[in-house]
Subunit: 364 residues, 2 copies
């Protein structure tokens, strides 16, 4: 058990945005919301999965929708309370703790803010170890855990409790409701037991996020390269260095979709890297080679500071380093790749683990 | 307390379709579903509102969507069970009885079928005394009763429990979900107390429907005019007689919308009546005069048999009598007219009570 104060929140926000691979919402807004909550309600208790009773009810909290919309339409705070209230009433059981569903600037922070305000602990676990755009794209789904009963709430005060025959239907129905309600809503989803988390979650993810954030923050004063620090913490690889020369982004069917082109510099001069994203970066390729592909992580970092750049933060002229991080082994199973590999997103490439692509790239 | 057997079901189906003013679904399908249910589970107990304890939980059951879709997509039966199960779980209270929300070929019959299968009584009350296309168009809404928590269920097994800030939001969100789920769903809505029904319901509506149906059925053998019988039971007026010469109907935004033209015969020769409908007939007018307008009832009856014709049953060449019936006094209040008068539906005419229009018409 440990407590999160302001510095920890700042660091987690940065680390989560990095693992959010361009999606997961603006880390600045998320951070402000969590800081405000601990300012008013005190530090947040964090428990490791081992500290959670097997039969305890744990419910992830987060936002659903396009992060580009979230920037303009911040939640009031009451929505998250309501989703928990309704789920407790429906399940007839108190919620023991909350947790993030994914890593991301907003969705790692919202459960912290909620925990502070409700006086609940946060479990150091999530369902992705990164960010993904759809509800069924969690390790819980791979193990057959239902996304429903789930509750969504809009900022007007309307709530919807869904029970669906499977998690793909949950995604479909909730996504449609989200679009109708203005593009983003708060949700309480995947109500689980402590046992579920132990078996199917990505453990100690907040700790990793905090370490990433801290190492980026301390790099300057320690006179070390922040990106090298990140690679060491995540077993990651530098994939590309360059300057953003083209960004094509639109919000459609509830997602921020688009492409970005990065013109190579230094070792990468003469090459252009194309990133494609749907909330998150999903595929990185040059004219000649596949560089990294979902479910492995593609993070774009500021070349100077090492800070992560979200898809909505990508600006023409930005100098950046593209980093690849191997995804959690659960994502490299057959069902993992089926659920969020390149084919699911409509890219006609086979999934190849990052480490192999890096090896090929060096030889190419 | 009384019981409904097969003959009563047959008669109620006809009477309800007549009060359904063209909407409320196909009475033949509705009737078959209710008959099948009592065939398997025995007669249905009907209680008057006075027999219901003030604190008993009563929940109307029905279908939402375009009746033209309902004809092709009959519910499996399980959907209604599910809506009640979820609502009971959420409210933490057993449902004491069910009831129809409106008069109509389908929505008067479905609660009867459900009651038979669940062994619940049906209360002799509804919220319209006719049919209307939107969820807030019930007398309960006029008295400030919430439509939510409501549950909708599709035939696949997905369910949604809604809590909305008002009944207009309930209509909006549920309508959208209905369209997405294929155009029609089962719903449990307006959970109420016995007290609510006594204060705000349209009492003894099943009894009126049964009497209407019976009088039409018996007219031939008693050698009386079925339409005259209907007018006597409902304080109604014959408004027009003629032949359907044009029907324009499409299913859009979840409704069956359109117009029908009837060429006058006998006393009405030389005039053409235009009916406009959105699931239900909402306005009837000739070249020269307004004949009848919502919330008063406009029913189209077969000139020969007196049987009601629904909007989806309107066929070129059909000989029919158009009948007007004064709506319940609750609909003639300011809020009643605001909620379902002509302006709400986009017709730029003032509401004028049927009796006045009839008087004018005779003088014109």
């Amino acid at each position: 058990m440990r407590y999160l104060g302001k510095q920890e929140i700042e660091d987690i926000a940065v680390g989560a945005a990095l693992l959010g691979t361009g999606g997961g919402g603006d880390p600045y807004i998320g951070k402000l919301m969590a800081l405000q909550a601990i300012e008013e309600c005190g530090p947040i208790q964090v428990l490791s999965v081992d500290e959670i009773p097997d039969d305890a009810l744990v419910v992830p909290s987060g936002m659903m929708g396009a992060p580009t919309v979230m920037v303009e339409k911040a939640p009031s705070g009451d929505e998250a309370f309501k989703t928990f209230e309704i789920l407790e009433k429906y399940l007839g059981k108190k919620i023991y703790a909350t947790m993030p569903i994914e890593a991301g600037g907003i969705n790692s922070m919202l459960p912290l803010a909620l925990a502070a305000r409700l006086g609940l602990p946060v479990v150091d676990v999530d369902g992705m170890g990164r960010a993904f755009p759809e509800l069924q794209m969690v390790t819980f789904y791979l193990d057959g855990i239902s996304a429903t009963p789930m509750v969504i709430a809009d900022e007007k005060g309307n709530t919807t409790l869904l029970n669906t025959i499977d998690n793909l239907w949950a995604e479909r129905i909730a996504r449609n409701a989200t679009i109708q309600k203005g593009g983003s809503v708060m949700m309480a989803i995947y109500p689980m037991t402590g046992r579920n988390l132990k078996d199917s979650g990505i453990h100690d993810i907040l700790q990793l996020e905090e370490e990433i954030g801290r190492s980026i923050r301390l790099a300057k004063q320690n006179n070390v390269d922040p990106i090298r620090e990140v690679l060491a913490l995540t077993n990651g690889f530098e994939l590309f260095k360059g300057k953003v020369v083209d960004v094509n982004r639109k919000t459609e069917t509830g997602f921020a979709r688009g492409t970005a082109k990065i013109e190579g510099m230094l070792d990468y001069k003469g090459e252009t890297l194309e990133l494609r994203f749907q909330n998150e970066h999903l595929i990185a390729q040059t004219e000649n080679r596949l560089v990294c592909v979902t479910p492995d992580l593609i993070a774009v970092l500021d070349a100077e500071t090492g800070l992560p750049i979200t898809t909505e933060g990508l600006r023409y002229g930005a100098r950046c380093v593209v980093v690849g991080i191997p995804c959690h082994p659960k994502w490299r199973t057959e069902k993992g790749i089926e659920t969020c590999g390149p084919k699911y997103f409509g890219y006609e490439v086979e999934y190849t683990p990052l480490e192999e692509l890096v090896k090929k790239g060096v030889n190419a």
